[in-house]
């Protein structure tokens, strides 16, 4: 039999994360929206609430609570601030390659700092040459004694300007089939964060470009085997990365439904609340169906991930479904609000903008379908 109930402990995680989001994140949302900048208080609060420690085992200073707990936290934070949830989810994506592919020395060196928030992480794969085809990137490495010299550029990188340790994918200068994943650290010579992006949504989540000019990386910072770096990043993105996006999408779905219920029960037309109109009810029902289905897909995939099973296909389905559903929900929420749905004082306008930013990260919907189709055909 399948048990679909959360444990008492997981319910407590949700309560905790919800209170955290409402008390520690919500007060900063307006400023994040206005400036588009990361909020230091929010980052500090995330660290103090041990949000970065969730997936890291206790022996490396983490909590060892796993991916379901992380999904719950990301979902609840996203319900209040997708930007903050995205920031957090990508900290997790930065941690993942070290967890999965780091050697003992690397785990001891990097994980404790990433767990307590002294150090922030990210992963950088996408390049101007196209994110959907990571093998087409032009960031290259060559060996120089025991070191590697990295040259190139990365774009659309979450936490680009705040991250201290970054998993970077680079190609062998002389062999287009060989990749390495390096842990590049803030302050390394030849590495800098350059352009900051201004996004239509997820404002307050930092996105930008990284540049590597003869950046010297010691062999101690090579993750996994030389030449096998593509697997390091793709395995991390395929599960933890997509899973994080699913959490973000569920939060948007939930927020849209809540805002819609509130508005529809308060807005009086023809002498009664518009929630009595069948057309409005239809939209609420659609949103609810999508949210219920999305949660089932999400928590199915993440429970497999927690069991150590291969779950990237299930995550592809969940990511496709929930990010598309979040866009549908945001449009319906805006529609239900009538003219108010065009006014920035109403959070549904933010949800609409945020929902469109969910798509590309960790692979577009088209790419999810490519993956899912491949799954059906094998």
């Amino acid at each position: 039999m399948i048990d679909f109930t959360f444990t008492e402990e997981q319910e407590m995680f949700r309560k905790m994360a919800r209170e955290f989001a409402e008390n520690m994140v919500a007060p900063h949302v307006a400023k994040m929206e206005e400036t588009g900048e990361v909020n230091d208080d929010v980052i500090r609060a995330l660290a103090e609430a041990e949000m970065m420690a969730l997936t890291i085992p206790e022996e490396y200073g983490g909590l060892g609570l796993g991916y379901t707990a992380r999904m719950i936290a990301v979902e609840e934070i996203s319900r209040i601030s997708v930007a903050t949830a995205m920031t957090l989810q990508v900290f997790g994506l930065g941690i993942e390659p070290i967890l999965k592919f780091g050697n003992e020395e690397q785990k001891k060196r990097f994980l404790p700092g990433l767990a307590n928030g002294d150090k922030l992480g990210t992963a950088a794969v996408t390049e101007p040459t196209g994110g959907s085809d990571p093998t087409g990137g032009r960031t290259v490495y060559r060996k120089d004694g025991d070191d590697y010299i990295v040259n190139g550029r990365k774009c659309f990188i979450t936490n680009s300007h705040i991250a201290d340790t970054i998993t970077v994918l680079a190609k062998d200068e002389n062999d287009p089939k060989a990749f390495c994943a390096f842990i590049i650290e803030k302050g390394m010579e030849g590495f800098k964060a350059t352009h900051v992006e201004h996004k239509i949504g997820m404002r307050g989540c930092n996105t930008g470009e990284l540049s590597f000019e003869n950046c010297r990386v010691p062999k101690e910072n090579l993750l996994g085997q030389e030449g096998k770096g593509l697997r390091v990043v793709m395995a991390s993105i395929g599960e933890a990365g997509r899973g994080g996006m699913v959490g973000c999408a569920l939060g948007v779905q939930a927020a849209c439904l809540e805002a819609s219920i509130k508005f529809a029960t308060e807005r009086i037309l023809y002498g009664k609340p518009i929630s009595r109109l069948q057309t409005i009810q239809n939209k609420l029902a659609d949103m609810k169906i999508d949210l219920e289905a999305g949660r089932l897909l999400a928590y199915r995939a993440v429970s497999m991930h927690d069991k150590g099973e291969q779950s990237s296909n299930e995550f592809a389905v969940a990511k496709y479904f929930t990010t598309e559903a979040a866009q549908r929900a945001a449009k319906m929420a805006v529609d239900i609000h009538g003219g108010y749905g065009c006014m920035v004082e109403f959070p549904v306008t933010r949800y609409l903008r945020d929902s469109f930013v969910l798509g590309p990260s960790a692979g577009t919907s088209d790419i999810m379908k490519v993956i899912i189709a491949r799954w059906t055909l094998t």
């Binding site: 402990e9 309560k15 905790m16 420690a53 909590l63 609570l65």
Partner: protein, 265 residues
């Protein structure tokens, strides 16, 4: 080391208050569909206990009377830093008024072992009688200080404390052991934490029924309750908005008149 008992009540989530209705026949609250949360002021009571623990070292017992669904509330207090939990749960406890509730809780406290300090919320957010604390103190024959807003001096067995009055405060001295009911001014309750939740895995909640307490059944629940809630109604809390127009002076004059009329000034 101090022995502290914190009494905590599971109450309907105030955020869901619009979902609560009164059953016209039984005059009880219709609580289905409403999630239960820790009574807000009991968080302040918990926080006070935790601060005393940090300051002097303490063993914190969390005690609640309620249905099995109240168990997560006790667990939450253990996750906040309580050491052991007791849930007094039995069909026989049902329908208790404050007297029977306090009697049952006092019996539980006696069985746990008499503490140095008992902390209660000033009031629950549902019943809100403010009686349970003082009644427990009476059953245990110990002093009670209600509406605690500040602990001025907690060194030794004679404490100096401030309690809330409408227009000020009262400074009191009280000998331990004593029971305090706390207000929200006392402290800022801490948030739950992941590590706290993990630590609570090893902390037990003991459930006691009527046999465990070994008290006569007629003093429990409905039979043990001298109070009968004979009627309850909902009140309509409608607010009205009136827009005052005119020059600044005219508006100020009108406002003044209205406030005087309303008895506000």
């Amino acid at each position: 080391m101090l022995n502290i008992v914190v009494c905590v009540k599971a109450v309907p989530d105030p955020k869901d208050s619009c979902k609560i209705s009164i059953d016209p026949v039984s005059k009880t609250l219709n609580r289905c569909d409403v999630s239960m949360v820790l009574n807000p002021l009991d968080k302040n009571a918990m926080e006070a206990a935790l601060q005393l623990k940090e300051q002097y070292g303490a063993h914190i017992t969390v005690l609640s009377m309620g249905p099995p669904q109240a168990s997560p509330i006790v667990k939450e207090c253990l996750a906040l830093g309580g050491d052991q939990g007791f849930l007094l749960s039995d069909r026989a406890f049902g329908g208790a008024d404050t007297y029977a509730t306090a009697f049952t809780l006092a019996s539980g406290i006696k069985k746990v072992g008499k503490p140095d300090i008992i902390l209660c919320g000033m009031a629950s957010s549902d019943g809100a009688t403010e009686w349970v604390g003082p009644q427990i103190a009476t059953f245990l024959d110990m002093p009670v200080v209600t509406m605690l807003k500040e602990i001025v001096n907690s060194a030794g067995d004679c404490w100096q404390v401030k309690t809330s009055l409408e227009d000020g405060y009262r400074l009191l001295e009280v000998d331990l052991p004593a029971l305090f009911t706390v207000t929200r001014d006392l402290n800022e309750p801490r948030a739950l934490s992941f590590s706290g939740i993990i630590k609570a895995r090893k902390k037990e909640i003991t459930v006691w029924g009527k046999e465990d307490l070994g008290v006569p059944e007629e003093s429990l629940g409905l039979p043990g309750s001298p109070t009968i809630v004979s009627d309850m109604t909902t009140t309509d809390n409608k607010r009205e908005v009136e827009i005052i127009t005119g020059s600044r002076e005219e508006m100020a004059d009108q406002l003044l008149l209205k406030l005087v009329d309303a008895g506000a000034i």
